[in-house]
Symmetry: C2
Subunit: 327 residues, 2 copies
Amino acid sequence: MKLATLRDGTRDGRLLVVRKDGEAGAPHDRWTTLQAALDDWTAAEPALRELSEGIEAGKVETSPIDPYRLAAPLPRAYEWVDGSAFLNHVILVRKARKAEPPKTLETDPLIYQGGSGDLLGPRDAIELYDPAWGLDYESEIGVILGDVPIGTTALDAAKHVRLLVLLNDCTLRNLIPDELAKGFGFFQSKPATAFAPFAVTPDEVGDAWRGGRLHLNVRSTYNGQVYGDCDAGEMHFSFFDLIAHVSKTRRFTAGTILGSGTVSNADRARGISCLAERRMIETIDHGKPSTPFMVVGDRIEIEVRDAGGASVFGAIDQRVVAAGGAS
Amino acid sequence: MKLATLRDGTRDGRLLVVRKDGEAGAPHDRWTTLQAALDDWTAAEPALRELSEGIEAGKVETSPIDPYRLAAPLPRAYEWVDGSAFLNHVILVRKARKAEPPKTLETDPLIYQGGSGDLLGPRDAIELYDPAWGLDYESEIGVILGDVPIGTTALDAAKHVRLLVLLNDCTLRNLIPDELAKGFGFFQSKPATAFAPFAVTPDEVGDAWRGGRLHLNVRSTYNGQVYGDCDAGEMHFSFFDLIAHVSKTRRFTAGTILGSGTVSNADRARGISCLAERRMIETIDHGKPSTPFMVVGDRIEIEVRDAGGASVFGAIDQRVVAAGGAS
């Protein structure tokens, strides 16, 4: 099933069960927020699925979905943990900032703890306070977890995956070097993350979800031009591997969001899912980057289509505006 | 006023308004969780203060407070952001792992994003999975914030501080070097953080809260011996400075917890608030550390007393147990 969160003036918004074509949806009487449903998934899931079936059968009154009125599926989450599981991205981005990839690149996942208290909806503007900060998008797949015990193994991780999501992990590239030099990881260099309209249960994509990876393409369209159409199945570490990694020393509460890192393929013809990679390729080929970072007025669209061409998560479609809201 | 959260089988527990002596408390009819109160503080604060006054006047029925039944004031929080604002700690701990302090030590605060989905109560055991991980405690002061807009200045930060807390930011020292070498900051090296029983409004400590610092001593008692009695007022960066730093590129939602970092004083006679500092001092004085990291059976107590000798936050009193719960 497909779920979304309608902005209704509350902090958590109103949970909607969405028709599979993404065009209409309905609220549930009892399960009014996604967090509440995740908190009690065993009870919530069958109730929400029953509503979903009623919607598909045309037996439930629905309202049209307006993506401009949607929040992130979880407008605030208890944790947002982001991996960097596409090795091609790690290698290129480190090269771009003249840093070596870690020696344990292929055996020890890169993970950072992101800010989770303020997550953006699919049409929310990206407010740019200073173009010198080097604004970039990063197209990623994520999973929303149920309760994960400490010491969960990759073999045992599948059952903790509740929902799949698509996200734009905006990054301020030019703030990264000074921040990482301090040794404590990203902070100011990671502004609020934005999410596509729909969170979907894994069965919604059939066997495209297998082995803890989503085997579909993530298409990133920048100012109307397709910059990348990258295979998310090329994750070196699967989401199950990432779950095992993060739960080594602590547990996670239901509603934790876990990201794949920027989707990136070794095959250059696939294009890129963030401008930093394109700039690095330009540097390798021509000695210097020619693609600038994002500026006011830019537009980034991110979408995933299934084998039948249907949009799985709906589209992220964000514009960059000057801070304060003027575009 | 003093607030606490009683474990009642729900994920967020039940908010209690606590008598100033910390011995008894009462729930509020409408404001049933601390997060709900923080979400709507303008309405909640006067209602909770009215109950607090009723409790002090003996006009409200109360129940005894049993710290073993308390959760963290926020058992799950939307963000847990930890500074490292005591420069003496930064210098000693970096020296211990043979790393240089950052060049911007005195001008650019160190901050990391912590895990916030699973926060421990004041008597919760510290489960130790592997003694080789090098378990340490870290005694810290924290603040719980209201909504903080992007670009908040230090001068404007005071009004966003809702509550003060005391916490134990447990750390697995021996996991840090490999983790920081990857460049993305702490993750596995930071297990769940524990909190003292009471969150208090700043007025509760009078002028000991001034300039964004708590001018009281944090006493850390390890296995019955006072290891540190450190002045939390020696923070180089105030909480207001830290708020300005973290809000440079994003906003924060009500209930965000912001920590001071390990309380640490240049005056050695004050002692230490984590074992890593003691081990470094031993190394400086004797060539090698003699204090081991924590082992099963160890006990750590952390407490802050006001000028009159009263316990401000109640005591953190945790024992280290073998993973699985056997002590």
